[in-house]
Symmetry: C2
Subunit: 477 residues, 2 copies
């Protein structure tokens, strides 16, 4: 018991210091290790296996919506990056530059891709000729580099893993439809796989992607009441197409520019899972993306028949991602360890259980124990995993719902920003000055202009002039 | 028919100019596109889907042998790269150097990983403490960069996709066993999935990996008789462990160094598939890794019931990776196009076939046509795909076998190198001078010291002194 206590005591309490709790979890659950490159992390097997499950689930959704995977070069020549003016202004300050190949100085320096719009555009200009070539619905899984000053594992790092979808369409309507389609794919994925509810909406001009006409976002709420931008989908219009000369002949044999989109989510989603579902015992993973969904722990392992029974159960439960911990550690230690790793369900089996043809199932999320008959164990496990998944979403949804506050005047907004956490819904006139004043005064940034609009008042919460839209404001990662 | 002819005429004949044929295929089968970064390629959907199938198949083999996936940083600080002397000497001349982050000059320059031994070693030094932590069986899927002067799609490029396994073991025996185990995994994968037979063996000291004690290789033979190093597995001893301080306490509480291995294969395997199986009509893909295993082509599509029947068949055959081409191109054009893409099996269905409750199946590899009943179509397709897979291996094996020549004297070796292609088996004394002289005189390099040794003679083919081992020599990509 001493060791068990020690194991858990080593992590900071979540409500005491959320930032430190987070850092403790990523280390203690063995998700990451630091490396000698400042701001770059090693993603360890426990962390990478979550990413693999995220990839698998998302990739199937991309393919179901007609997308194909490709791979673009890691490097972008400086002249290529500069082709679209707004885009280069947004990204040039934060890229890594390769200036030497071996011992030779390069004639033109190359940046390590911070995002690949320019490469996709160059390729599309090569391969798109006729309306028959459209749409092009491409995606790539890769890593990108952005030279950030302050970094945190999964949330903001110099290099991160992500997917970036890049599509080219014949018409504006098709491209807009795609932009929203992929935002909805992300939202459904977050709810169904990660058990994380999101708010969907459009970014203000100040917050949109460099080069986009419109940026859409899904925003989620962490346990500490801060928002996390969890995925974005951009509509580019024909701006990139004009800069890169991506034209096709339409059915009337006229030259037209394509309309484009891009959309991405990253390993940041792992940070969201940690911060939405974790607690003082560690990580808590939704079954859909948990590397191991169930861990079997034999009790009194040395007693005759226990290990055999545990192995037999592992076999019977092979439809799930199941792990048998037959190491020589004490059961209590194992319990703590697997709770730290966030395995959704624990099955305990000892001599008495075997005698009674039963097992003990313990939920990671609620700690609830159920004694179930072995006759029906497959269904019991299935049904409990389903319940855990939906309960996790339900709790996260309740937390989100109760963290949304309506505000109609500036004073209340300032007070609320000091006293409360979460999202603040307030009206906005659409002017950047007001957005900036709110940020400076309260620390709140505009998270999105939600799809579900409502007129809380007809006045901007900041300047009192005519309100244009309802905005979600919040402190953000 | 004109268009069909034109479609095929655009590629060079394989036996006329193999190099040009290869370049034509990779473009025409839409595997790659060139990019504005010299030596880096865009891997298009047709090419990337092959890589995804290779990954899926190999990854399952890695996991079945107990390996876990991780992700290491893209960058290696110069000081870290320099920790192992031989390793840095081998790689430093061919790495890309990042010297700026945004507008700031870096205090220490970073190389883009050419391979990740140093990063894995640094991580292992952090996480390996006790014999209980061993073995560590890690793998990563990523891209690496080597600043090559002359590049060719898939075969040698500035950046390429690969997997690199890196393992740490308690003993020399365990590490050696792992080295050979993974070489065998590669060999089995090549035969079973790619239908490519390989020669397994050890590299000479001259050809081994920078920092390795021993390098093992699988060598395959392309249609033009040149060899392709298709995968390598390295035993490192405790050299890296000593350079990086990777130590553990053993069961007797004594400090020991770990013994390490690494092993990798890359997108080069796609090059092998092209050059072993392709022909003058284009690519020919083994069913196991073909993105589409079967393409259904409706004949007289406008006739009543044809498209419906084709769609129904697609549905019935959904156990396979099946594609229905209902585009408005002519059937002949479609035939050529899908042959170019290398789809293993084509199913033609027209009004007469429907009337007779039959379909026409055409093999890509042999062009053989079979008329089969629709009643049993699932089994017919399954059995034909199996046959294609095994016939492709059989033909490649026959080509390999008849391309191996035994040589016992230097003059014959010189003549053979001029007149023939393939592998030359000849005895070697073990001295680097002889290896270099053979290379200079004949253009043949040592491909491997095969596991299956035989004494063709007791004299070195070059110097006539005492022979040490039988070596496979060949011209190589």
């Amino acid at each position: 018991m001493d060791r068990q206590k020690k194991f858990v005591e080593e992590i900071t309490s979540r409500d005491e210091d959320f930032a430190k709790w987070y850092t403790d979890i990523v280390k203690k659950a063995e998700l990451i290790d630091y490396s000698s490159v400042k701001g770059c992390m090693v993603i360890r097997p426990n962390g990478y296996a979550i990413w693999e499950n995220i990839q698998k689930n998302l990739d199937a959704r991309f393919k179901a919506t007609g997308h194909e995977n490709v791979y673009m070069p890691l490097f972008i020549p400086e002249s290529l990056l500069q082709k679209e003016k707004e885009h280069v202004e947004g990204f040039a300050p934060e890229v890594a530059w390769v200036t030497y190949g071996g011992s030779e100085k390069l004639a033109e320096r190359l940046c390590v891709r911070p995002t690949s719009e320019t490469l996709f555009c160059e390729h599309y200009a090569n391969i798109v000729h006729s309306y028959r070539d459209l749409p092009k619905l491409y995606n790539q899984w890769c890593s990108v580099v952005r030279w950030e000053k302050t970094t945190r594992p999964f949330l903001r790092s110099l290099e991160f893993l992500w997917q970036e979808g890049h599509t080219a369409h014949a018409t504006m309507e098709d491209a807009r439809e795609e932009t929203i389609r992929m935002l909805n794919v992300y939202a459904a994925f977050c709810e169904e796989a990660l058990a994380i509810p999101v708010v969907k909406g459009r970014k203000t001009d100040k917050e949109k992607f460099a080069g986009a006409v419109e940026t859409y976002t899904i925003e989620s709420l962490m346990h500490d009441g801060k928002a996390l931008q969890s995925g974005t989908s951009h509509y580019f219009g024909d701006g990139f197409a004009k800069a890169f000369g991506i034209q096709y002949t339409d059915r009337d044999n006229k030259l037209q520019y394509v309309h484009q989109t891009s959309w991405g989510v990253s390993t940041r989603l792992i940070g969201a899972v940690i911060m939405v579902h974790g607690d003082d015992s560690g990580l808590s993973l939704p079954p859909v993306i948990a590397p191991a969904q169930l861990v079997i722990i034999p009790i009194a392992m040395h007693k005759e028949g226990v290990l055999e029974k545990a192995a037999e159960l592992k076999n019977r439960l092979s439809d799930f991602r199941v792990k048998l911990d037959d190491s020589d550690k004490m059961p209590g230690w194992k319990f703590s360890e697997h709770e730290m790793m966030g395995i959704p369900l624990r099955l305990e089996i000892g001599p008495k259980d075997i005698e009674n043809n039963q097992a003990v199932l313990v939920r990671r999320d609620t700690r609830e124990k159920t004694i179930v008959s072995l006759d029906n164990i497959e269904n019991e496990v299935k049904s409990l995993l389903d319940t855990i998944q939906s309960d996790m979403l339900k709790r996260a949804k309740e937390h989100l719902d109760k963290s949304i506050t309506n505000i109609t005047d500036f004073e209340s907004l300032c007070r609320a920003a000091d006293e409360k956490t979460g999202f603040f819904r307030a009206m906005w006139c659409g002017k950047r000055e007001c957005e900036e004043k709110i940020k400076e005064t309260t620390g709140l940034s505009s998270r999105c202009i939600p799809f579900e609009q409502e007129m809380l008042s007809d006045k901007c919460v900041c300047c009192g002039e005519k309100a244009e839209s309802l905005v979600f404001w919040g402190k953000a990662y």
